[in-house]
């Protein structure tokens, strides 16, 4: 560890710069993002907590090895989330037949209902977190991820574009389609329960 170092006053990008010369500074960066990346991986990968911890460890190692490729025109968080996104996709490809688990539901999805558009206005706001996680698992993974990033990880369109390596306009379209799909899925579920 670096003695008498106050990491709180340093930005992510400054810490990334310091990490290039001394890996001890990397600890402060990881500490900042460990919980966030773990949660993100759990949300998009549908794997157990143990597997997600292994994945996060690999993600941090990969980020460290590639720290000299960090593009300083991006936010460090976007770069790290991008590595996490790519690593989860590689994991899926490698373990195609692995049984997918449902993920820890939480209430953060309710941010979606605060957005003022026709699609979310009509949604049943009494939906539970558990039901929402079930529905999100049923829609296309690309739609699920974009909704997770926007409403649960609270990323703006530019950040999501940087993470998924897509143009901002495409992100807008993806979110719109994802919401439509989500609404359709929730409504079809409601009909099923009402029968």
């Amino acid at each position: 560890m670096v003695p008498n170092f106050d990491a709180k006053n340093k930005s992510d990008e400054e810490l990334a710069g310091l990490t290039r010369d001394n890996p001890d500074f990397y600890y402060f960066l990881m500490e900042r993002y460990e919980e966030k990346i773990l949660r993100y991986v759990r949300r998009i990968a549908n794997v157990s907590r143990e597997v997600s911890e292994d994945l996060v460890q690999e993600i941090f190692l990969k980020a460290y090895e590639n720290i000299n490729d960090f593009d300083e025109t991006l936010k460090f968080s976007s770069w790290l989330y991008r590595i996490a996104h790519n690593h989860v996709i590689s994991h899926w490809r490698k373990y195609k037949n692995e049984k997918l688990l449902s993920w820890d539901a939480d209430e953060s999805f309710k941010n979606m209902f605060e957005s003022d558009d026709d699609l979310t206005r009509d949604l049943d706001k009494k939906i539970t977190a558990e039901r929402m996680s079930e529905v999100l698992d049923k829609i296309k993974p690309a739609y699920k991820e974009v909704l997770v990033l926007r409403y649960m990880e609270d990323k703006d369109y530019t950040e999501i574009g940087d993470i998924l390596k897509k143009p901002v306009g495409t992100i807008g379209t993806l979110i719109l389609r994802a919401k439509k799909e989500l609404k359709k899925e929730i409504e079809s579920g409601n009909n099923f329960y009402s029968k």
């Binding site: 460990e34 773990l38 460890q57 941090f60 460290y64 590639n66 143009p167 901002v168 495409t170």
Partner: protein
């Protein structure tokens, strides 16, 4: 935190003495992507330039309005170079998407920008005469090239469609008749008494010309329009050794 993944990672980095990959490694990777992109753009632009070159020499606008003209034009389009343009455009597009900020732009926008860029760069190469030299080199060095690509010589060697070209070997100004040797060394008696002769045509012996008109009988041709073969950029030297100087020609239907 009960897991403390961060501590495990730091321990692993120290234990295994892991170090970040050097900045040079990433610099070289990015440079390779940019070099590839530049190469694909240049290759696409040269392909465009050669298309311009062929289209200019073939003079499609002169042919298309004639009876059977659209068919001749369709057969004479430089398909090989059109395929090359598409091929290099796709490669450039894929390479651009691999650049650091390439993902920020829509593929359609990048595609249009690259297409326009290659088009104008191709026009510059064509204007500078680079493409003419490349095409001439290909024709002379690779006989197969003239069989695959419809060369201007091949297109203008269709007397039945009213298209004839070659070198003036005799000219009778009194009778308004000239003798023309085509690209396959056949001699044609051309009557130009009612023809329009472009000002660039000097009617001198050894001059390369294009003739639009009607085939009358065996090796007799009535000219309607006589044009210079290549404007000011004469591609072939004058006689005496006509056969040796002629580039290979794709067999026409006559």
């Amino acid at each position: 935190m009960d897991t403390n993944v961060s501590q495990k990672v730091i321990d692993k980095i120290k234990k295994e003495r892991l170090a970040p990959k050097s900045g040079w490694h990433f610099f070289l990777l990015r440079a390779a992507v940019l070099a590839g992109l530049s190469f694909f753009i240049l290759a696409g632009a040269l392909s465009f330039g050669i298309i311009f070159d062929i289209v200019r020499q073939v003079e499609i606008t002169r042919i298309i309005g004639r009876p059977g003209g659209p068919g001749v034009v369709l057969l004479s389009l430089p398909y090989l170079w059109i395929i090359f343009v598409v091929f290099f455009l796709v490669l450039a597009l894929a390479d651009f998407a691999r650049t650091r900020h390439g993902y920020k732009y829509r593929l359609l926008h990048i595609g249009v920008a690259l297409f326009v860029g290659m088009f104008f760069l191709g026009a510059v190469f064509h204007a500078l005469g680079y493409c003419d030299s490349i095409e001439m080199y290909l024709e002379n060095q690779f006989p197969l090239y003239s069989r695959i690509v419809a060369t201007p010589q091949g297109v203008w060697s269709r007397p039945s469609d009213g298209l004839l070209s070659g070198m003036i070997v005799q000219n009778d100004n009194v009778m308004d008749r000239l003798e023309l040797e085509d690209w396959r060394s056949n001699r044609w008696d051309v009557d130009y008494s009612q023809a329009t002769i472009e000002p660039q045509v000097s009617e001198s012996l050894g001059e390369m010309i294009k003739v639009i008109g009607d085939k009358q009988a065996d090796h007799n041709f009535k000219a309607e329009d006589i044009r210079p073969w290549d404007g000011e950029m004469m591609r072939l030297p004058p006689p005496p050794d006509l056969k040796g100087a002629m580039p290979p020609v794709r067999p026409g239907k006559d």
